[in-house]
Subunit: 508 residues, 2 copies
């Protein structure tokens, strides 16, 4: 074959478009761009970008018109950050190589089995951003459809751990908890950590911020203390106080899980395999040795009945055992919100009221926290079987848990008081009767429209529970917002959704 | 419940961003937009847009920075066209309702079966643009993974037909052909249509443009005559000449197929069920009564072995029968390109050479076209069994097929001559030996880099076939391009991919 002189590789000028395409790396090229035409690129092709800083694979969106100048390539936020370029850097563009590890997904789709090696290659590619959303969706569907066996779930969990960071602790026992399918206002974690640490155990809790809910544990805790700690700062808090409640974002624990969860949500596809791998990969990566899993069971909870709860619990134990951590489950009532508040500040107030043993504290929140903390004390062998709850109760009632919580907040950077919102609207009953139904999904929507979680003080304060008898004019709940506009949006929504709370009128 | 005055629904000003996201409808909103914040939208949410013209569902990309002005909403091309708005129109934005039909996909993923009703609802939603790429990928994966049974394939094909337009013809027999997995340079269709129409049969052929290949039948035919006909113009041509070769874009035949194919390609996922539904839905929607399916079999063709070809052929027959059309398959050699040319003009020249019975015509292309045309004549009962090929040969050699082809071109708007490219580069052998291997995939890439199919005259002209003995300096193939730059890109690629054609050197 003849040899030709190699032309210089064509480059384009990087432009940051500020478009958030979440995990998926996307680039934008003009339809009349010489590179685009010569390489035969068309919309949705996967292409390979190289800058002086490194290289990534991205999905192409072709642009007609003048959004981009000639010779420019536009980058989404994810592309910009992964490639690590600066404004005006030159970027080389070429066709992406086929994604080798996706052939393992295809083999699974056609009825094969995942080996540990294959799952590790897949998770490594997913974490590196080499899977488009279309690939991720296919993987998630195949895992659900083809029913991973226990061996595959163990290998998937392990691969997810290995694709990210992993914390190590110099303690014989590292306690943790997780709640499957959180109810609104179920903010037990800060109370449980305070009790368990007060008992002398180690519980370094990394929590998430809200993705679709009105508050995550990290959002709520941030009302009371800084949660944005580096790994070293977090270690210092734990060494000093035995516990912490921080945001998990500083360390990259099972990053593949975060990427997959977004697609699972879009598809509303919850397989047991993925639930188990998701929960346990985060806990193993966090260095936990003992995990208590709170499984709320109820008609609108993630786990609908007792039989499913038992099956899930058994699988969690098996997978945990294979990967060297002790997992125990607790089935709890998943019918309605636990505390009074929904939204970061209002939930934080609930937490303080319980820790301070105030009469105004939510009894349900206190009971749930004591059940969970008691089970953890027993798991760790700190209490004998059957005496954990009593020990937890003593630690709470004696004020030791409250002292420990204050010490943890101080160690995390200083305790703060919850600030309440400027604008409130009290919703009262228009009838005499009983509260018959509360729609949790609408409650969450209402809290988000009022501004939660971005506005910490925004949210909903519940005054009644299912079954409560109310008079005309008696308060049902109060909407809290930080601007009149947001209060207005919430009230609009409420007017359009009267089924949010139903009061069954008494026949007089 | 109390009543609140309903606020006016917030609207945003439409801006056309010119971004081609292919099928998926995408919109862009500022992260600090009041609607975005109040509704709690985040990246990749599906949202509902309403203008005075109608409404659509679209995927949200959040924008940071100044790509959009405050109060604006940016629309991708697909969103802009589907919503049918004008610059500056006001658009209402709200959360999209859950996609009901996707629950049927979920049921399938968990092992259920598709009913005809459910598949119709799914295809209708896909055609209306209500499925994001993530949903489409899950559907395609589930169909592959869960192995649709024959009843489901029939229902899927029928649902795909019903989701689009359907042509009716006032002829007892309407002939058609299809090739599964086209080889480069396999441009038999114009020759087959000319022969079959010359025999007095009706063959209204709608063809596609290239998506990933260097030329589609419509691209090649466009070199010789207009193909961009309206449905009425097409009917006139067929009524007058018995045949046509037009672009299928004027009518929307099985539009769900076009949407699904793009995702199947991205996943490189070819299920037999989807192949059958894709081929037959297009043919049934086009009003065909008899379809000959050309199945090239070869190691790099879509169908790899004889057993798979037989299985595919049987399924095609069963599904065709259930939906009222006669389907017959022909297994052909899928080892190497058929004609000499690759690219619209070069392929068009091959077609003319065969139709005009020139000695310079490709013998392989002529043979393949005669085989196919003969089989169609027999299917229609125009020839007795075993005599079809002879009749086809007589129609070709007598010049009747050539006359018919000219008449069809005139009826479609006037015949044109292929124009050849300005710039060529002849690649010659550097050794004495035999052509041992041709990489079809690289050939296609090379033709596209040279400018095909956008530059009609660009492409590759083959001078040798596998097994040919060549001397030093003997031409192997010629690259054709319409600009020196494109010729340069092609030559760069060639220099980097010497395995494109391998000449096994003789031991002297």
């Amino acid at each position: 074959m003849p040899e030709f002189p190699r032309q210089s590789v064509p480059t384009l000028k990087a432009r940051r478009l500020g478009i958030d395409t979440h995990h998926e790396t996307v680039v934008f090229m003009r339809s009349d761009c010489h590179v685009c035409r010569a390489e035969g690129f068309s919309a949705l092709n996967r292409i390979h970008l190289t800058s002086s800083e490194g290289s990534i694979i991205a999905t192409l969106n072709v642009v007609h018109g003048d959004l981009l100048e000639a010779g420019e390539i536009g980058l989404s936020e994810s592309s910009w950050q992964r490639l690590g370029v600066n404004v005006g850097d030159r970027i080389e563009v070429s066709h992406a190589r086929p994604l080798d590890s996706f052939s393992f997904v295809r083999a699974k789709i056609f009825g094969g089995e995942f080996t540990a090696d294959r799952l590790q290659e897949i998770m490594s590619d997913i974490t590196a951003g080499r899977y488009s959303d279309v690939h991720l969706s296919s993987f998630v569907t195949a895992c659900t459809s083809e029913h991973l066996n226990t061996g595959e779930i163990i290998a998937l969990t392990d691969a997810m751990v290995k694709a990210g960071d992993r914390l190590g602790w110099d303690y014989p026992k590292v306690m943790d908890k997780h709640c499957v399918g959180g109810l609104p206002g179920n903010r037990t974690t800060p109370i449980v950590v305070a009790i368990v640490a007060a008992a002398g155990l180690v519980m370094p809790k990394t929590s998430s911020r809200a993705i679709t809910s009105p508050a995550g544990t990290a959002d709520t805790m941030e009302v009371l203390a800084p949660v944005d700690l580096t790994l070293n700062q977090m270690r210092k808090v734990v060494d000093q106080e035995g516990g912490c409640i921080v945001w998990g974002g500083a360390v990259s624990l099972s990053p593949a899980d975060d990427i997959l969860i977004r697609v699972e949500r879009a598809l509303e596809l919850d397989s047991e395999a993925q639930l188990i791998a998701s929960v346990l990969s985060k806990k193993i990566a966090a260095g936990s040795s003992h995990v208590l899993v709170d499984i709320p069971v109820g008609p609108t909870a993630k786990v609908r009945d007792h039989a499913s709860a038992i099956r899930l619990s058994n699988s969690l134990n098996l997978v945990g055992e294979a990967l060297g951590i002790k997992v125990q489950s607790m089935f709890t009532d998943g019918h309605q919100p636990i505390g009074y508040g929904i939204g970061p500040s209002l939930e934080a107030r609930d937490v303080l009221n319980v820790l301070q043993n105030k009469a105004s504290g939510s009894g349900m929140l206190r009971d749930r926290a004591l059940d969970l903390a008691g089970a953890i004390l027993e798991m760790a062998g700190q209490s004998t079987l059957g005496s954990g709850r009593n020990q937890a109760k003593m630690l709470l009632e004696s004020g030791k848990a409250w002292q420990k919580f204050q010490a943890i907040c101080e160690a995390q950077g200083g305790m703060r008081e919850p600030v309440l919102a400027k604008y409130t609207h009290e919703v009262v009953s228009g009838a005499i009767g009983h509260v018959e139904h509360i729609n949790n999904r609408y409650l969450s929507r209402l809290a988000k429209l009022a501004g939660a979680p971005a506005d910490k003080a925004a949210g909903i304060e519940m005054h009644v529970r299912i079954g409560k008898r109310v008079e005309i004019g008696e308060p049902l709940f109060t909407i809290h917002a930080e601007s009149p506009g947001e209060l207005g949006y919430a009230m609009d929504f409420l007017a359009a959704h009267p089924g949010l709370m139903i009061v069954e009128e008494e026949q007089l």
